[in-house]
């Protein structure tokens, strides 16, 4: 948001002399606007972008195929069976919804904490949230088997007297995720309005002028507009802040409220939230690093952004590690045979390979982020972020599959082997996500123009 002198508080972060700045020196109002807007309006469509879009679209095609077949035949085409009735669908759901969290954290919490470094990464992080939530939302619907009856999850005066079970976290999920999707979309769009007006002014093609003009909803940038706007933006940030915690807390309740060993543990809410932010920032870096490289935005997405994101990843990763440690400790401390067996099964059972990979990817490798040299190296950051994304996916696999395949009764133990359709849907949503991001960076300013302008020294002088 606007960072005039009045707005400065002691919570604000103040870069040290040897730290990289939030924005490279030598920028002005005009150069900021041009750099960001020209990436959309002037830059010709490149081969690389087309290739990326093509790959994304191909994967969407695969998704369409997999979903069509799923609707024709049913969820039996997946690897799920009793006892492992929650397979890829729920793993992917939790994974995607977690990724979305960084966007909300950056846009809402860092805004309230007046962290100026959020201003260049918030826009595409919010877009990332939207697309990730869209990907996540597909899975419970597909998993239902009869997605056309999805509206049964909502409480409505049905003549059949069907009413959701409000004691089930799965119903809380419906509300948590739909609220989250709504607020994220509104927040993202509201944040775009002033920039859409800028795009309207800068666009040369009449169709572009029309489109941006329509979306800008008559924004003129008058003092009154800004006053109302800022009030609304802060208000929305306040509303969105609890959502960062609540959504993944409710997702963690999906597991923890059940009495399944490995699921029913009290640390799940904070540890799920930390894991979500962990994977979310990994995805932010996976997106930010190529975007700043290919669109020459190094002056706006500076090393400071990447380093701060890396620090947040390190911190949230350590909270996740704390969660793993105390799960194991209490399993052996509490004296419950089932808890002990669950832990031993994770370590040495049929899926132990995934557990140790998870420890390697999520805990051990990211520890190199302690070294400032690594945090200052873009290639390292990109690779570690990819490793974390895989690690967080494995975490959900370990939680869901090892527990369900070995619960209380040995007579009901089982196996889980994903089929090619499981992989097709996962790959398909990745394609959907990538396509949406590719289109987004071409038609919308992927960095917030007006918030970047507010960071310039000129903005402060004017405000005095």
């Amino acid at each position: 948001m606007q960072q005039g002198p009045e707005e400065k508080t002691i919570l604000q972060d103040v870069p040290w002399p040897d730290e990289p700045p939030v924005m490279a020196p030598g920028q002005s109002f005009g150069s900021v606007t041009d750099t960001i807007a020209d990436a959309v309006l002037q830059r010709p469509i490149g081969l690389g972008w087309l290739l990326g879009l093509f790959i994304g679209m191909t994967l969407i095609g695969l998704l369409m195929m997999a979903v069509t077949y799923l609707f024709l035949v049913g969820v039996g085409i997946w690897g799920i069976e009793i006892p492992v009735a929650w397979g890829f669908a729920i793993i992917n759901f939790v994974w995607w919804i977690g990724i979305g969290h960084a966007g909300t954290l950056i846009s809402a919490i860092l805004l309230l904490l007046k962290q100026t470094w959020r201003n260049s990464i918030n826009r595409f992080a919010e877009a990332m949230t939207l697309f990730a939530v869209a990907c996540a939302g597909m899975f419970p619907l597909l998993h239902m088997g009869r997605p056309w009856l999805a509206y049964w999850m909502f409480p409505y005066p049905s003549s059949m007297g069907v009413w959701p079970q409000f004691r089930s976290p799965l119903v809380w999920d419906v509300f948590a995720v739909s609220t989250y999707a709504t607020i994220s979309a509104v927040f993202w769009y509201v944040g775009l309005v002033p920039d859409l007006a800028t795009m309207r002014e800068k666009a040369t093609h009449p169709a572009g002028k029309k489109l941006y003009g329509l979306l800008a909803m008559g924004w003129r940038g008058s003092a009154r507009h800004w006053k109302n706007y800022e009030a609304l933006y802060i208000l929305l940030a306040g509303i969105a802040t609890p959502l960062v915690l609540s959504v993944h807390t409710v997702v963690s309740f999906d597991f923890a409220v059940a009495i399944m060993p490995g699921w029913h543990t009290t640390i799940f809410p904070p540890y799920f939230v930390a894991g979500a932010i962990y994977s979310g920032f990994a995805m932010v870096l996976v997106l930010a690093i190529p975007i700043r490289h290919f669109y020459h935005l190094e002056g706006m997405i500076t090393m400071r952004h990447l380093q701060n994101s890396a620090k947040i990843m390190l911190a949230t990763g350590l909270i996740v590690a704390y969660g793993y440690a105390f799960e194991a400790f209490i399993a052996f401390y509490s004296g419950s045979t089932y808890e002990r067996f669950m832990m031993q099964n994770r370590w040495f059972g049929q899926y132990s390979m995934f557990y140790w990979m998870l420890i390697l990817f999520n805990i051990l490798i990211p520890q190199v982020l302690w070294f400032p040299k690594i945090r200052a190296n873009v290639r390292w950051l990109f690779s570690i972020s990819l490793v974390i994304l895989v690690g967080m996916w494995l975490e959900r696999f370990v939680i869901i599959v090892t527990s369900l395949s070995r619960d209380y009764l040995p007579s009901s133990w089982g196996h889980y082997t994903p089929t090619r359709w499981d992989y097709a849907v996962l790959a398909g949503t990745i394609g959907f996500f990538a396509t949406a991001m590719f289109i987004f960076i071409r038609i919308m300013p992927s960095i917030s123009i007006f918030e970047m302008r507010a960071l310039l020294p000129e903005a402060e002088v004017k405000a005095k």
Partner: protein, 403 residues
């Protein structure tokens, strides 16, 4: 900038003389308290020890919470840590005192920890709950304090460096040290909470337990900082330096910790309540039945709901005079919460409400001793780390362009 810094005279930023008065009063409370406590050990050793455990966990929590916040403010940067850094440092210096104050628990352990008398209680977890050897209960007590005192010593030494001009170069920021320190602190504190409180009921375990203690300590520490800052702002030089924004930010952080604590506590409750497993739910039943439910309700209303509602007000957060009452009240609620955690573990108090006078007197007595030592530490150094590179900006912000 360096000239400006050099011009700041240490004398101008000395701790106000009134602090000596506060130290003396605390010492009187402490000495009287200790005498009363000695009487207590004679009258009712068991109840005294329970009160002592409550007092110990609270005042240890305050020292450790301040140590934690000290590391957090080095890590996060920002001005909010500057005005309270010396308070945090002086509190963390009380950790050697807390090490010595552990002795009554050490000698009274057989009155507190049932599992030390009855080996059959720890059949399932004797690998952890035993007293001998390098990994035992005694050894862990030493290990925790070695970690805590080492961290406090190193951080305070570094803090001393900021009292005199630097030989040259950029002031180190202690970020790596603080990061590592926070990891060590979180882990050691979590195990200490298991050893000293959770093991009162050796059959019950909860994975979020350590985090609840961490959040509680952070809340105590912030409340204490608000109190200290308000008191200091009555006198020069803080009267001129500290502006409403400083209180506003501490108020926001306090609100955040009130919510964090409630979030952890609620998570633990909801998961255990919904699971309703016999080995877990008993912990809550012992703390709801037989009058304890009222205490639980008081904690919900006054540890969360009321402070939450009050702290939403911007005006309240910006005025130290309005914040201090709430801060004192929150520290009191911290004691109530620890009381609710500790006392229902004992055989007679399981599901039967019990309040002994010692649960009130002992925390006051230990508090007197703790505060006297705190003020002694606090008076040793100027109010601000004057050669910290951020100080000129901080002072300018406070006096110059404030609003």
């Amino acid at each position: 900038m360096s000239n400006e810094t050099a011009n700041l005279r240490q004398a101008d930023y000395a701790v106000p003389a009134q602090a000596a008065q506060w130290q003396k009063r605390s010492l009187i409370v402490g000495v009287v308290g200790v005498v009363v406590c000695i009487v207590g050990t004679v009258i009712s050793l068991d109840q005294f020890l329970r009160g002592y455990l409550i007092a110990y966990m609270f005042w240890l929590g305050l020292s450790l919470g301040c140590l934690g916040l000290l590391m957090v403010q080095y890590l996060s940067g920002g001005f909010w840590g500057l005005s309270i850094r010396r308070v945090l440092e002086a509190s963390s210096k009380c950790l050697p005192l807390m090490f010595v104050l552990f002795l009554p628990i050490l000698f009274g352990r057989h009155h507190l920890y049932e599992w030390m008398n009855d080996p059959s209680l720890t059949e399932h977890n004797r690998w952890y709950l035993h007293t001998g050897g390098w990994g035992g209960w005694f050894a862990r007590w030493i290990i925790y304090f070695v970690i805590w005192i080492a961290l406090a010593t190193v951080l305070n030494k570094r803090g001393d460096m900021q009292d005199s001009p630097l030989p040259g170069g950029i002031q180190p920021r202690f970020q790596g040290l603080s990061g590592l320190g926070l990891v060590l602190y979180s882990l050691s504190l979590s195990f200490a909470a298991v050893d000293w409180v959770m093991s009162l009921d050796p059959h019950w375990g909860s994975t979020i337990y350590g985090l609840i203690f961490l959040a509680g300590q952070g809340l105590s520490a912030l409340a204490f900082c608000v109190i200290m800052l308000t008191l200091l702002t009555r006198y020069s030089p803080y009267r001129e330096i500290i502006k409403p924004t400083q209180f506003h930010d501490l108020g926001k952080l306090m609100l955040a910790f009130v919510m964090l604590f409630a979030y952890f506590s609620f998570s633990q409750w909801l998961i255990i309540w919904a699971g309703n497993l016999p080995e877990e739910i008993s912990w809550y039943l012992n703390r709801i039945r037989g009058g304890w439910g009222v205490v639980a309700l008081i904690i919900i209303l006054f540890h969360f709901a009321l402070p939450f509602a009050l702290l939403l007000s911007r005006e309240r957060k910006r005025a130290g005079s309005r914040l201090i009452g709430l801060a004192v009240f929150l520290m009191f609620m911290r004691v109530v919460d620890i009381y609710w955690y500790v006392v229902p573990n004992f055989a007679h108090e399981r599901g039967h409400f019990y309040l002994s006078i010692w649960y009130v007197l002992v925390p006051l007595a230990v508090g007197g001793v703790w505060l006297a030592y705190f003020f002694y530490n606090f008076r040793q150094r100027p109010l601000l780390p004057l050669y910290e590179p951020q100080i000129p900006n901080f002072l300018q912000q406070g006096s110059g362009h404030g609003h």
